[in-house]
Symmetry: none
Subunit: 397 residues, 2 copies
């Protein structure tokens, strides 16, 4: 049975609110950040809706932001693997063409023997790094491929190879540690042998171009990947979808799924204003809130709590739009105790006139454990949201 065969053409208003890295865990000392936060508006949605826990990539598996968001969009995150190169490209708004090979590069420092001494070139400043990227774009020329560079931030650079017959199945050149030289390009498939040869020349040309520059000596490449054609929201769900995400990577993942990217808002209230302005142009909006994850990575509990409370404050403006469904959740957990992503299931809330109600009266991990939404793969949220918005017809007579 295909979901698409059950879809109708009726317009609707579905709102996905992602607090990046929302989930946490309680321990002897602390409640979770969400439990600790004062969230009167989210608590009211929980009281009027249903709650549960979602797992983006299966039990025990810590999800990256790419698979986490794909699961929220209803795509199987293990079927559509997006390499770091592609996520970097979408993140900086570089439109990969079919056949392009993209990778992430770190500007790095080498000693006289070609040994990596700093994988991030002393966390080089943006303007210095950007100038080096200009040098690379001006000077790196190799036979067999056009080579393009784009500065991301600090030591982070996107590299794209364009040409006939390239293949992304090449191992990382980045050794992931200092004290050793960068790795020689190794094909992971016979079809990628020529690409590995091209990369050898690219690596040499990069070192040549940087030889008389200050700040960095080479680029450590990793996460080779190629352009993916993901089925679009329009084809998959008959939804006109848009995102008001601020950060490039999330705008990029949304774009890969065929969402429109509305002009980049400055902050939360501008995100909500953009949704309001385009309310009748779309059936589905994706609002991404980054600050929860940043605080999780930094291990800053108070900041994560504050970021959750900031999102809570805009909920009344969102409810005022009278959507058919609101989902509030995360793409993965980022407990401040771990200063990074984790496998803990993500608290999730669904609200809308046909969603139903359960016994929960607040939004938090332990309240979610007893909710009507149950504990389930993140990917299952999308069909439940579609159903709650009246988009799905009956299966079978």
């Amino acid at each position: 049975m295909q979901l698409t065969s059950l879809l109708n053409d009726s317009p609707c208003h579905i709102l996905l609110i992602v607090l990046d890295g929302l989930g946490g865990f309680a321990d002897a000392q602390f409640d979770t950040e969400l439990e600790q936060a004062a969230t009167p508006n989210l608590d009211q949605l929980a009281a009027e809706g249903i709650v549960g826990l979602t797992q983006p990539t299966g039990p025990g598996i810590t999800a990256g932001s790419g698979p986490g968001h794909l699961a929220l969009f209803g795509y199987d995150p293990t079927e559509y693997e997006l390499g770091r190169g592609v996520l970097s490209a979408t993140g900086v708004g570089f439109d990969l063409a079919p056949g392009d090979i993209a990778a992430r590069g770190n500007l790095c420092l080498l000693d006289a023997d070609g040994i990596v001494t700093d994988r991030r070139a002393g966390r080089i400043a943006d303007d210095a790094a950007s100038a080096l990227v200009d040098v690379l774009n001006d000077h790196v020329r190799v036979d067999g491929a056009e080579v393009m560079f784009k500065h991301i931030a600090s030591h982070r650079v996107l590299i794209v190879l364009r040409g006939e017959g390239l293949d992304h199945r090449v191992a990382d050149l980045d050794p992931q540690r200092t004290g050793v030289p960068p790795r020689d390009p190794e094909p992971l498939d016979p079809a990628a042998e020529r690409t590995a040869d091209v990369l050898r020349k690219v690596d040499a040309a990069i070192r040549d171009a940087l030889a008389d520059q200050d700040g960095a000596d080479a680029l450590l490449l990793r996460g080779f990947d190629t352009h993916h054609d993901l089925p679009s929201f329009a084809d998959r769900y008959k939804l006109r979808a848009a995102t008001v995400a601020i950060y490039p990577m999330y705008r990029g993942v949304a774009k890969l799924c065929g969402m429109d990217t509305l002009p980049r808002p400055a902050g939360l209230s501008e995100q909500v204003a953009a949704i309001r302005e385009h309310w009748n142009d779309y059936d589905y909006f994706f609002l991404h809130h980054k600050k929860t994850d940043e605080a999780g990575h930094d291990g800053k509990r108070d900041d994560k709590v504050a970021a959750i409370e900031a999102l809570d404050a805009v909920i009344p403006d969102i409810v005022a739009l009278e959507p058919d469904v609101i989902a509030v959740t995360g793409d993965h957990s980022s407990p401040t105790q771990l200063s990074g992503h984790s496998w803990h299931p993500v608290p999730t809330l669904l609200w809308g006139p046909h969603v139903g109600r359960d016994a929960a009266t607040s939004f938090g991990e332990r309240a979610c454990a007893a909710g009507l939404l149950g504990q389930r793969p993140t990917q299952e949220l999308m069909p439940i949201m579609l159903a709650s918005a009246g988009k799905l017809e009956k299966y079978g007579a």
Copy 2:
């Protein structure tokens, strides 16, 4: 691991009680119908057993009665898709032979240009429709297939084609709306081209036969399907199974799974009496209660509550039979707020000396959310019922 390899031959008494369309959802105004109903006997079973929530066809998917019941019987409802034609045939007790093609037909009205003006022929009365079906059986003759008609109720008619090399993969002729002509038969597979030709002749012959009759002008055909060989309860579960369902369609689905159909009872107390009478002839009984779904479809909350309470009243007589397991559940949800089937998970109760107990003390959607049975695909109930009745041996040493 095959379930069948673990089955033993011991007799048992399993009772499946289906309140059709049982599930509902709470909102600002209402509890669910089950929560609202006064069900002292079901509440006692909940207190003495375990509860949970079941999803017949996956998250967000609204199940029809066919897939809903197949899932309750432990069959994968997406593997065994039963078209409306087959369900109609089983519903009126028409035994399809291998190769037969069955479809549902609506007696309809056409204008002088052949445009559909009423898809249900003014909801024609049973006796008038039945007389027209007799006319069709007397007059419709085409090359390439024997054509049989059977009146179901009002405008609803079963049509069966019998002959060599027919194929059911033909698109609906019913356009599902007025103001357009019936569709021309379109093969969905090259193998069905000849069947489409035959159907073109059948359609013309039907219109000829009805031309000088009052009440209807044509038959709108949909849901072409063919005879299915489903594995039987005897083979699959080593169970002697019988149903005391009243409505033809549910007797039909049970029959497709190899259950005996006991003489059609008049109402709930006769259903229970039939089970009591045949208690030692069978290991498994399927009791179907239709009125909950009818009230759900009609959006009549009080009627649905009353239908639930009526079922509750016969529970003591069922418990008195001392079955090994009683399951009380629905084939899908039919909330009165939506006047139709829905995707909301179905409250489910298991009771028996070896089932166990959880903290629930009443039978209702929100109580079920925290039950020991958890939230799971409906199809998983059957092995749990078998196990609780002592029918399954250990897997592995």
